[in-house]
């Protein structure tokens, strides 16, 4: 039954994808834009549609009109407007048959294509495992779910909810349609579209076998299969939008068509709207368009389209807080609502530590992000290929606008990362471009009769494939049984979702009881009671400086309608004293307790500990 459900969710996602493609094809027709490559046309169609859907969903939730009904009307209208553009599906199928014939002529290409298909099928079912990712349970899914349930409003107790961007609207779309499995399926679809766009980019410079090799390398990269299957983060959509924006920009330059610049800008804006650092993409793209075309019209068209595609989260944040990139400028723009403790914690999570600043650290970063990735935003999850083949970049050079735009955008995003956050995970949007660039350098040099270089490249790729396959197997063993319905949802969540055992206990103990529960753990997606995140490291609402006195703390709890305080292990350091004092005075009274088994540190490392959970009731205010 669970297996059939998974197939059903995937079918819904496929249907949404089909409607998006046919509608986008209609938009391309109306703009008078066409390409000889059917795959590229399908990708542009999907990119334009999904970027537009994101804008529409953000508008619908802001207006309070987001529901399954309005979404069904939206997709029905898209399907109708598509009209004769439905024929793009037939053209795509014919192109697929032609591609298979081409692949069959090469044994290497056949093997690579079969591996890619097998991997994608496995990814699809892995993505159907219940949501269990850490950041996903903290805010990627939680904030959209809370908006859907309680209306569109600022969630100050989940500070990262302000980082919810345009691509999160696809998560919201799935939730509004009735299931987080649809949201997870859409994230998987973002991965498939990213891989297809990477393949298309690679085909501009590389052979069929080389292009399939780099596509397989992409799919076997731990960062990629993690992001497109079980992470529950929509960031993989940035890879798709960014890579496609580059292809569109190159078309705009070579055809001197401002309309392609519009498409390119809109896609770059969709990427930028997903995460603050990704705004480097449309900015650099506009500058490169200006340099390449010497036309302010081109650059302005691209810039305006980028704003249309991605500015909405910034406007929302400015409307709610006064700071479009909340909380990073709130010290200046919204000083009355500034929480120095939480701000310091968020800065520490998104910036290099003090001992990694200075000139030498800037030089070291490109090496350390791969070779010491755990300290630099999980950069080791990208694999070693880009760094290993980096010296071959000089052989990747092509005297074409596409190469210059690709290299320019990649370099700009990379260097803004070096000089700002030094968090490798923010490099995800340009990873596909980086991979194609170094692989095309490797293929060029391999054809020049340099056996040592060819052997070094081939061996490195083969070792990485073996490593990627082993890492994938390690991951799949935990998630695939749940995705296939072999393992029950509840058993899977108890086993693999962080904080799930605490959440289950709280849900059953507080079911139907009035008042909110203050919790100090971050994975709150499955909580079914009104809650408030009380951890000052993640909650902008909790400023420890203002809650030092027990009376202030008690007043704060009552003002926030907190009736229950959930103690898991111990309280956060900054709040320990006032909360313990309230316990001693009887203002916090224990009502229930349990012991949960939970992860310690990163889930992937698999270490578990016992965590005592205690529910304390806040003494009601006397008459």
């Amino acid at each position: 039954m669970a297996f059939l459900s998974a197939l059903g969710w995937l079918a819904i996602v496929a249907l949404l994808g089909i409607v998006a493609v046919v509608f986008g094809a209609r938009v391309l027709d109306l703009l008078g834009l066409n390409t000889s490559c059917v795959l590229e046309r399908v990708l542009y169609s999907a990119g334009i549609s999904f970027a537009a859907i994101q804008v529409a969903v953000h508008g619908l939730i802001a207006a309070g009109w987001l529901s399954r009904g309005t979404l069904l009307v939206l997709f029905a209208l898209m399907a109708l407007i598509a009209g004769k553009s439905w024929k793009v599906l037939g053209e795509f199928a014919a192109a697929g048959v032609s591609f298979c014939t081409q692949v069959k002529q090469s044994r290497v290409a056949t093997v690579l294509a079969m591996l890619i298909v097998a991997l994608l099928i496995s990814d699809a079912f892995m993505a159907m495992a219940p949501l269990s990712g850490s950041d996903a349970s903290h805010y990627h899914f939680t904030a959209p779910a809370l908006w859907l349930q309680h209306g569109f409003h600022p969630l100050y107790d989940i500070t990262l909810s302000f980082a919810v961007g345009q691509s999160h609207m696809l998560i919201l779309l799935g939730l509004a349609l009735g299931s987080d499995h649809i949201s997870l399926g859409l994230i998987f679809l973002g991965g498939v579209l990213s891989a297809a766009t990477l393949y298309r980019l690679a085909r501009e410079w590389m052979s069929l076998e080389g292009s399939l090799t780099v596509t397989l390398a992409f799919l076997l990269t731990p960062m990629i299969f993690w992001q497109m299957t079980v992470a529950g983060a929509p960031d993989i959509w940035m890879v798709f939008y960014c890579t496609l924006a580059i292809l569109a920009a190159a078309r705009g330059i070579s055809t001197r068509s401002v309309r392609w610049a519009l498409v390119s800008g809109f896609l770059a804006g969709a990427a930028a709207g997903s995460k603050y650092p990704a705004w480097a993409i449309p900015v650099v793209l506009c500058l490169l368009l200006l340099v390449e075309t010497r036309s302010l019209r081109f650059a302005s068209a691209s810039a305006l389209a980028a704003l249309l595609g991605g500015i909405w989260p910034l406007l929302r944040n400015a409307w709610w807080t006064g700071d479009p990139v909340f909380p990073f400028l709130s010290h200046w723009l919204a000083p009355n609502n500034f929480n120095p403790y939480t701000f310091a914690s968020i800065l520490a999570d998104t910036h290099p530590s003090a001992n990694h600043s200075g000139f030498i650290s800037l030089i070291e970063y490109p090496f350390r992000l791969v070779l010491e990735g755990q300290r630099f935003g999980v950069g080791h999850y990208y694999g070693p290929l880009v760094l290993a083949f980096a010296p071959l970049l000089i052989f990747a050079y092509r005297p074409t606008p596409l190469f210059r735009i690709s290299a320019g955008v990649w370099a700009a995003v990379f260097f803004t990362n070096v000089f700002s956050s030094q968090m490798a995970r923010f490099l995800l949007p340009v990873f596909a471009i980086a991979l194609v660039l170094v692989f095309s350098g490797a293929e060029t040099i391999s054809k020049k009769g340099r056996p040592l270089l060819r052997i070094a490249c081939a061996a490195t790729i083969l070792v990485f494939f073996a490593f990627g396959a082993a890492s994938y197997a390690l991951y799949a063993r935990d998630f695939l049984p749940a995705g296939l319905g072999i393992e029950s949802r509840e058993h899977f969540l108890q086993r693999l979702a962080p904080n799930y055992q605490e959440v289950s206990f709280i849900n059953s103990a507080l079911q139907g009881k009035p008042g909110a529960a203050m919790v100090f753990f971050r994975h709150v997606y499955y909580l079914r009671v009104n809650m408030m995140d009380g951890d000052p490291q993640s909650s902008w609402s909790v400023d420890p400086e203002k809650l030092l006195a027990p009376d202030s703390m008690l007043a704060f709890l009552r003002k926030s309608d907190v009736r229950w305080v959930i103690r898991t292990g111990d309280y956060p350091d900054a709040l320990r004293e006032p909360l313990r004092a309230l316990e001693s005075s009887g203002d916090l009274r224990p009502t229930a307790s349990a012991v949960a088994n939970d992860f310690s540190g990163w889930r992937v490392e698999g270490e578990r500990v016992s965590v005592p959970v205690q529910i304390l009731e806040v003494r009601p205010q006397g008459p």
């Binding site: 070779l371 009769g449 270089l453 490392e605």
Partner: protein, 46 residues
Amino acid sequence: MMKNARMRPVDGLFLLWVIAVNVLYYHQFWTQFAPRIRAFFHLWHS
């Protein structure tokens, strides 16, 4: 192709570079995940 094959000193440098990157990269993974990898392959049970 082999008739035209050429080897240059820089090729040897590249080979050393690739070996160094690979060794350092996989070593860090082994350091982080050794217990899980061992458990996965059931090679060593403590």
